[in-house]
């Protein structure tokens, strides 16, 4: 672990020095900040930029203190233009840099979609592998914070559909720290979707774990618990709930409630939305024989459909019921007052579980 991460930073980002067997209680915001701090220290070619990323430290303070510590060449503000930020990332990557741009809110990825889809995702291909795009695009994502319009989108299906992109979303501070460090050291572009409603909840971050399996199994996506695969967030026998981002915590909550009725739910945190860890899905649902996918994004052509197909492919013979989807609706993301009606809530997820458990063939 880097020495530099032990230094004191501004206000809310002070972290205790890391020692051997070091586990600290950090918020996801702190964990992400620490990961970026270490990546900056370890790779002089890493540059962080976006709207308000520099002096302010980002509207969510994820880059807080990093400009003061690493300098204005490494962490800088750009003019307010997302296509510019992402297009600039392409050129920096071509010049040998490892850009970590930030799009301030998910909905503002849309103005940059040409640069993301036609340029970042394709440059490695277009250049026959001579111009890799080691870009980690951080996108504060999903809903749940009563934000204005365009500040609560779930773009994972859109990004996952684009050849050349990889997509990941952490659900805990521990994963946020390790996955961001992992993504930022890869040679391919990664869309890093941060569940903004989970920025401030604390959780244990095990620094010494050095991300179980990561070093030895970088390219082994099915390695249980490795950085490149899914994670069993809760073991269970009766059915598998598949989720990512902020929905993992909600599913764990539902699982506890279901346990009171004697239903033993397994929660699989997918983490990677591209590539999806198909073997982890097969392993979990092969055991439980029932599955409910939960996501915030609209239902139609959402990633739940992809997950359901992967499960059907591997578990068709033993499935007890069709895979259920509990998702947002095919409506624009609503205003804050209706947010709780839109995002899968505990009741809707419990109904989903009930439908799967009560399903009878014929």
């Amino acid at each position: 672990m880097s020495e530099t991460a032990t230094q004191t930073r501004s206000h809310n980002n002070y972290t205790e020095p890391a020692a051997a067997n070091d586990i600290q209680q950090l918020s996801m915001q702190q964990a992400l900040n620490r990961a970026l701090d270490e990546v900056l220290a370890q790779n002089p070619k890493t540059v962080i930029f976006g709207e308000d990323c520099g002096r302010l430290g980002g509207v969510f303070r994820i880059t807080d203190g990093l400009q003061a510590k690493h300098g204005e060449d490494r962490v800088f503000d750009t003019p307010l233009a997302e296509s510019g930020i992402l297009g600039m990332s392409v050129g920096l990557a071509m010049a040998g840099f490892h850009p970590i741009p930030e799009v301030q809110f998910d909905g503002f990825a849309y103005p940059a979609i040409n640069q993301i889809v036609c340029q970042i995702a394709r440059m490695n291909y277009r250049s026959r592998g001579t111009l890799p795009m080691p870009i980690t695009l951080r996108v504060p994502s999903f809903g749940g914070i009563r934000a204005p319009e365009h500040h609560g989108e779930s773009l994972e299906a859109l990004f996952a559909h684009v050849p050349g992109l990889k997509v990941v979303s952490p659900s805990t501070p521990h994963d946020a720290y390790h996955l961001l460090k992992y993504a930022a050291t890869r040679q391919d572009p990664v869309i890093f979707m941060e569940p903004k409603s989970r920025y401030w909840q604390k959780g244990p971050v095990d620094f010494t774990a050095a991300a179980p399996g990561a070093a030895a199994h970088d390219d082994e996506p099915t390695n249980h618990g490795s950085l490149t695969g899914a994670r069993v967030a809760r073991e269970g026998r009766h059915l598998t709930m598949v989720a990512w981002g902020a929905m993992v915590a909600r599913c764990l909550q539902v699982a506890e409630l279901a346990a009171e009725d004697g239903i033993d739910v397994e929660v699989l945190d997918l983490r990677w939305l591209k590539p999806i860890d198909a073997e982890a899905l097969a392993r979990s649902v092969g055991k439980t024989r029932r599955a409910v996918v939960v996501h915030e994004a609209p239902l139609t052509s959402g990633l739940g459909a992809e997950v359901a197909q992967l499960i059907t492919q591997s578990c068709f013979a033993t499935l007890k019921a069709p895979v259920e989807r509990v998702t947002g609706f095919d409506v624009p993301y609503p205003s804050g007052d209706l947010e709780d009606e839109y995002i899968p809530n505990i009741d809707r997820i419990l109904f989903g579980i009930q439908r799967v458990l009560e399903y009878r063939r014929g």
């Binding site: 540059v47 060449d73 750009t78 003019p79 233009a81 296509s83 510019g84 992402l86 297009g87 600039m88 990332s89 392409v90 050129g91 920096l92 990557a93 071509m94 010049a95 040998g96 840099f97 850009p99 040409n114 640069q115 036609c118 340029q119 440059m123 490695n124 291909y125 277009r126 250049s127 026959r128 592998g129 001579t130 111009l131 890799p132 050849p163 050349g164 990889k166 890869r186 040679q187 391919d188 390219d219 996506p221 099915t222 591209k274 590539p275 999806i276 198909a278």
Partner: protein, 350 residues
């Protein structure tokens, strides 16, 4: 095939071109004219499926490409920069392979040739140039070693929002980038007056505080000198420059286009002005820089090169289908690998 690299930009910013350099510029323009005309014929003969001619833009392309320092600078082209590529000494079979539909970005190595992959999104790479240029600011220890990005686009592309973002970013960051606009009068069927407000693209630069100049894009020496001085300005750390080279697209937008639907032959004749190649020839003759024997030799070399490139293009077979999969990522995903396996089994029966 490979072509001999041409001389890099001279060190002395104000030195006049030598007679040798002037002749070299003509040789390049002749080669480009010949290759361009030939490529249209290849399309008609079925050797290549399509081509975007640069006929009439030889001076703008060769003059600017000749000024590039291939040890430091980096060029961001569109799909109509064959003359720049040739002036920079690219492998022309590798370049033309994009028009053979061998590989979208071309088969040349962009890093070694300092020439980014061919870009089919209009204005798509203008921002890349700004990012690359800012990277030079971040990593250059001295002005001498600072590379400059030069991004090519046209009057049509100047309407794109990315061009505004790029110019604003570059000006705010003082990025060493030359915005090289070839205003060739037409964006497929739409003339400049229905495309560009404010009089010219160069006129917009003042809104960003970027120095700009309009240059006679059919005068190869004027283009070279403008580009050389813009590169020097950027290299010295003074920020970006806009050059608008006024020229004329003498041919169709592409081999699929029919200009007869939007302009008459009479309009073409009146608007095109003097042929830049013939104009340069007359100048060299008048100045005693070259004689008829030189022009005959330039033509002979151009014909020889055309034949070599044609043979190279004709010999290009399709790339192995496995490259569809292997070029997507540096670290391929398991899902993509299994698609590649399934494709191989079902298409090659292995």
């Amino acid at each position: 095939m490979t072509t001999e690299p041409v001389l890099a930009a001279v060190d002395d910013d104000t030195a006049p071109l030598t007679h040798h350099q002037l002749r070299e510029l003509y040789t390049l323009m002749a080669a480009v004219r010949h290759l361009d005309t030939a490529a249209v014929a290849w399309q008609r003969q079925g050797i290549i499926p399509g081509y975007a001619p640069e006929l009439g833009q030889e001076a703008a392309q060769v003059g600017s490409g000749y000024a590039v320092d291939r040890a430091k600078d980096f060029v961001f082209p569109t799909y109509r920069e064959m003359g720049v590529a040739r002036a920079m000494g690219l492998d022309m079979v590798g370049y033309m392979s994009t028009h053979k539909a061998t590989w979208h970005g071309g088969m040349y190595n962009p890093l070694e040739s300092r020439f980014a992959p061919i870009q089919a999104v209009v204005a798509g790479s203008v921002l890349h140039a700004v990012g690359w240029a800012h990277g030079q600011s971040l990593s250059s220890r001295s002005t001498d070693e600072r590379g400059v990005a030069i991004t090519y686009f046209g009057d049509g592309a100047s309407s794109q929002g990315d061009v505004h973002e790029a110019m604003n970013f570059a000006a705010v960051m003082k990025a060493p980038v030359v915005f090289f606009i070839q205003n060739n009068g037409w964006a497929i069927s739409v003339p400049t007056e229905r495309q560009v407000a404010g009089g010219s693209v160069a006129a917009r630069a003042s809104g960003y505080g970027i120095p700009s100049l309009q240059v006679d894009g059919n005068d190869v020496v004027a283009v070279y000198e403008a580009t050389r001085s813009a590169l020097a300005h950027c290299r010295a750390g003074h920020g970006p420059v806009v050059i608008e080279a006024m020229t004329y697209r003498r041919g169709p937008h592409s081999t699929a286009d029919d200009p007869g639907r939007y302009r008459t032959l009479e309009e073409e004749r009146l608007d095109a002005g003097e042929d830049p190649l013939e104009r340069f020839k007359q100048r060299l003759l008048a100045d005693g820089v070259a004689d008829e024997a030189f022009f005959a030799e330039a033509r002979r070399m151009a014909e020889e090169e055309e034949e070599t490139v044609r043979a190279g293009i004709a010999d290009l077979g399709p790339r192995p289908g496995a490259e569809m999969f292997s070029m997507v990522f540096q670290e391929p995903t398991p899902a993509l690998q299994s698609q590649a396996t399934a494709w191989r089994e079902e298409s090659e029966h292995v």
